[in-house]
Symmetry: C2
Subunit: 372 residues, 2 copies
């Protein structure tokens, strides 16, 4: 339809031929949005986007999505009536008409559900289902200028929301209440309602859990505040982590950890070069923390790519040999976690250029002292 | 841990024995939340909850989720380091220690991803993976009083947000802007930040698409406004659809359709009886619209169950033989759609009792006239 998406599908068809695949079959998710230009919802009814090596496309959708599907793909929509018995016939008909009764059909294993796998296998028992995750990641990891501009806008919205919230960290507020206010601020400032993820807001000892969920913990004087949040603008996301403290001073051990993590961020930034393996960035952050005796307190990888999805390749984990490329966008977010006490994480977003990493996030890596 | 979740897992173990299954393996989603009491996020890393027929449980999680997992399951957490190469060993070790190297392992096909399916198959090549969706649906479809109370709160929050928004439908606002304001109102009134779904707000001809996504369409005098929205409170959701018009009158054809759809709702309510097949409710709505010559304009099923998930069994579609039970909660939402012109849908939420359906949604089925 729009040349942009048709071009992307043509590029994927090229990649399919190169990799010896006959087709791609996608569930709703960022890759489907990326290739078809409409964000279908993943609900109980199967929706499949198909692209063949010859560059033919199809969308298998329930009848109530026919209009949206036809808008982005005038030819190739297979709409089925709203009855589970109609799912298999629709998939079978689409695959038969596309000539996909055998061969190798690529899928995204971390997106496609078993329900759709079984429908594909039933429709084409002679076909082999194979992992096309890397092929798709390759297409999506390098951002075009339009995508990068949307990411920059998502960063700006998220950072403005952080500033809006600063006066509101007062004793007695709960994590859940502040997560609600942060969400409202993000939307008021222009984020789409579908945030990349629910904000993580963790007070004091709760910050020792990297994926803490905001709860009824009440903020008290002296508490560390960890916030991990992002916005979505034109489909693209931001993701950052900053710290504040309800105090005029930072305890020495916490300050020491914050500096160590900041050093780890800087080491990772120095290692982030076009052509370097993704694992080298992780290694740089990890070695910095290990030199401070904090190796065991850093319990996750150093970062992840982001774009239409908040977690997508490249993943910056130990030993990942994948070479970084120009125009990739990813986070650098080392952390140290002391169970029962606190956690410290700094999360920057980085756009890799031939000259090195451009840090997209502008908020400094300082623990904001909320008391004079 | 908490008796509530241990009891639910024990009930599932009973069901596994009755159905001749050896275990259940779940991805993050409503069933995992229902059975373990923590809402893990479905990200790229595999998370699996396992329950065996003997009633043993395990959670396979990345290291950064170890604390949360241990809180809800002090024994049985398998945490792996943040590296994809560690996924298969963790799953293999868990299944081996649970004695699950063969037998029948039940999954939810519309939740489990191929990634986790492949990990299970790799860890237990002799095991058979089978559909346990109906078994789990059976457990979750009948709500206990605590669940019902949460659903009632979610209805109240959503209805209050509708009332808050009424003065704000003014010429010049866009669908997307009003979706943002509705989201803010829902959160301000007490909804959790993770809404059951992004509100559907469709003006005029956009309402002809049941799953229209709010966009830049501007509201003008005379427009019909369709809103399909819900809130989430204590994990449980609401889901309703109402109509307004930026006019003091309703065009005759629209009024006629609205009445026909209301008649279909009433017919469906009369058919919603304990012991009746779910399909009979759909049939009652469908026949009512067919009698008005609107059969082809009703392009989806009549309703769906809801609870922790916004779409869950029972599904009210033509021919569904599943018998309705007391304490099920589901929507009744027939609609008629005229492409290029408008759409009309009324969506009630219903709690089925032995005496018949209790309508949970209080807002009347009237097109609100926004002009005096």
């Amino acid at each position: 339809m729009t040349p942009r998406y048709a071009q992307r599908r043509a590029r994927v068809a090229d990649a399919l031929r190169q990799e010896g695949l006959d087709a791609l079959a996608l569930n709703p998710g960022p890759a489907l949005t990326y290739l078809f230009g409409h964000r279908f919802l993943l609900l109980e009814r199967p929706i499949l986007g198909i692209i063949t090596r010859e560059g033919r496309s199809a969308l298998i959708v329930p009848e109530l999505e026919r209009a949206a599907a036809t808008r982005v793909l005038p030819d190739g929509v297979y709409a089925y009536p709203d009855d589970p018995d109609q799912w298999a016939p629709a998939v079978t008909r689409a695959l038969r008409e596309l000539g996909l009764t055998q061969g190798r059909i690529g899928i995204e294993p971390n997106r496609l559900r078993v329900q759709e796998l079984w429908l594909l296998q039933q429709a084409a028992p002679a076909a082999r289902i194979v992992d096309a995750g890397p092929l798709l990641a390759e297409q999506r990891a390098v951002k075009d200028p339009e995508e990068l501009a949307a990411i920059r806008r998502a960063v700006a919205v998220a950072e403005a929301a952080w500033r809006d919230l600063l006066p509101q960290w007062q004793p007695g507020v709960t994590e859940a209440e502040m997560a609600r206010r942060l969400t409202v601020a993000l939307l008021a400032l222009g984020s789409q309602t579908e945030l990349p993820f629910e904000p993580i807001i963790a007070f004091g000892e709760h910050a020792a859990e990297p994926h803490a969920q905001p709860g009824e913990r009440v903020l008290v004087e002296g508490d560390l505040i960890l916030v991990d949040w992002g916005a979505r603008v034109d489909g693209y996301v931001s993701d950052m982590t900053r710290l504040a403290i309800l105090s005029s001073t930072v305890p020495e051990d916490l300050a020491h950890a914050a500096t160590a993590v900041q050093d780890a961020v800087n080491a990772a930034l120095r290692a982030a070069r076009v052509g370097a393996p993704a694992g080298a960035v992780d290694q740089a952050a990890r070695a910095t923390l290990a030199a401070q005796g904090l190796a065991d307190a850093f319990i996750h990888r150093t970062g992840h790519g982001l774009g239409l999805d908040v977690h997508e390749p490249p993943y910056l984990y130990e030993g990942n040999e994948r070479a970084l490329q120009a125009r990739m966008v990813f986070t650098i977010e080392p952390g140290v976690y002391l169970p029962g006490r606190w956690g410290v994480r700094w999360e920057h977003m980085v756009h890799l250029t031939d000259e090195g990493p451009e840090v997209l996030t502008q908020l400094p890596l300082d623990i904001v002292r909320l008391r004079a």
